[in-house]
Point group: C2
Chain length 304, copies 2
């Protein structure tokens, strides 16, 4: 493995050009910054393999279509860009983000988004995890904050976006409460998701995930596959806050961390203040299967 | 008036440094882009005078406090930065934006926003107006879209922000419907605001503005001052969509455009498809008073 000189912190691609990630920046007049008019997706690389790369690119394409963005690159070209970024940075374990920005209108045209030319920004940086090693050992500590998740009829959460105002506020509320992270409720008081992760709870042996108000997570879909294989029943439905607080187990899941067991919710300890047994089995099986090449696409490091 | 070389398109200030606006960019790993973790305010310059500069800086400071951001600059220094930007670009009429970004954590620290060092990005560019000359003449055409405004318990609209997903979608809905702009409803079906402007309606001679779900606009406050002076009664309360659609007159107001009369709402024509009489009186008086130096702070062009 070699790292191309200057790319040790990661690599970026913006609208046709490759550069070290530290040089990648968004013009201040671009709607991608000024209006947060951008959709994105994140795929992980572990031990030199992308996980469910095609699923992420497919979801990214659906998100772009939903926002009426059509950057120049085909899905195959996006695949090639992401591969090249990981290769440039020489990363065996990487956090790889693909982003489509609305851009700016041509000179003299109205600033209506329909007049803008959308383009891609993609980055590959060293692997990031939502949970620290300590959190994996003791279980995450979650809380339910006052701030509510932005509702789907305002901003569609299945179109992954940078509208993180509610999630950022939840990070401050969690910190003030001595918790690691928050899980936000919707206007009806049902559980949705946290900053960068889906949530699942386990009640009477059944794995339950929220019906709405959350990203349709690729790792969440992988959890459902695992449950099928392991004979664990699953359900997708509304989960009221009180039911969630009384669950037998809770875990979170995301590309940037996999399956992350929870040991406390709003101060209540579960499983003697440790990761629960079913969550732990799912976590272990997830990484076993990953090591076996489950949904893997090897990075081609020879392209640079 | 001179324009400093290279600054014809506008000037920018980022975290202590001045540059032509075309060179100003936000690093892709900055939370200001990646999490839209930024608050901003916009002040206008007309004929060499800022309008209500201190009010805008005061609101900007409140917004930063609300998000727990504390960039290095004092209010007085922000005033000086904005003045210098307008002078560098030699602008008599300018759109001047002050923005505070969360930034990035120092190397090795967790990505929690509390660990980030916030900083300012400010720009001065040639005057932009929400309404075109044509819209001022014939009146704006508004419509009420399907997408709902992000609610205050998710993202506080009084802390001006770039979470424009709902507003951007409303621009597409408006275009599809043949309208100029949209006015969004909240979850209860009451009128809130449009992309970049407050709305007011006039019923039985009274000027009415929404109680919640909207920015506490500086231009809106100026409209209330005008109404007081002109003996026009005002009211701030919930405005259901149907009542808004049946109003005698409607106008919008914003820093980037002043008072903008509306002639159509959801296809219904008001005032024989033209700007209404009270809206027009307010519009005219607004610019008369501006020309007389109302709330004006002269730009000091000698600083460069």
């Amino acid at each position: 493995m070699t790292i191309k000189q200057g790319y040790a912190d990661g690599a970026a691609y913006i609208d046709g050009r490759y550069m070290p990630v530290g040089q990648a920046a968004i013009p201040v007049l671009d709607a991608g910054y000024r209006r947060s008019d951008v959709t994105y997706d994140v795929v992980g690389v572990r031990d030199g393999n992308f996980f469910r790369l095609d699923d992420h690119i497919r979801r990214f394409r659906n998100s772009m279509n939903s926002l009426r963005m059509e950057p120049a690159e085909t899905d195959g070209e996006i695949h090639a860009v992401l591969n090249r970024l990981v290769a440039l940075a020489g990363l065996q374990n990487a956090y790889v983000s693909m982003e489509s920005l609305r851009g700016a209108p041509p000179p003299g045209m109205s600033r209506h988004p329909a007049n803008c030319r959308s383009y891609l920004c993609c980055i590959a940086i060293p692997w990031l995890s939502v949970a620290t090693e300590e959190m994996f050992e003791r279980g995450m500590h979650l809380m339910i904050p006052k701030v509510r998740r932005i509702p789907p009829d305002s901003v569609d959460p299945t179109v992954k976006n940078f509208h993180w105002g509610d999630l950022t506020q939840s990070l401050f509320e969690a910190r003030d409460a001595g918790a690691d992270y928050a899980v936000l409720l919707d206007a009806d008081g049902n559980v949705t998701e946290g900053p960068g992760f889906n949530v699942m709870c386990i009640i009477d042996g059944k794995v339950i995930s929220p019906l709405r108000g959350a990203l349709e997570g690729v790792t969440r879909a992988s959890v459902f596959e695992l449950c099928d294989e392991m004979g664990i029943p699953t359900e997708i439905r509304d989960i009221p806050a009180d039911e969630f607080r009384q669950a037998d187990e809770i875990f979170t899941c995301t590309t940037a961390g996999g399956i992350m067991p929870v040991s406390r919710i709003d101060g209540r300890m579960m499983n003697n203040d440790a990761p629960g047994p079913i969550s732990t089995r799912l976590h272990d099986r997830f990484w076993e299967k990953r090591a076996e090449g489950w949904h893997a696409t090897p990075v081609d490091y020879s392209v640079i």
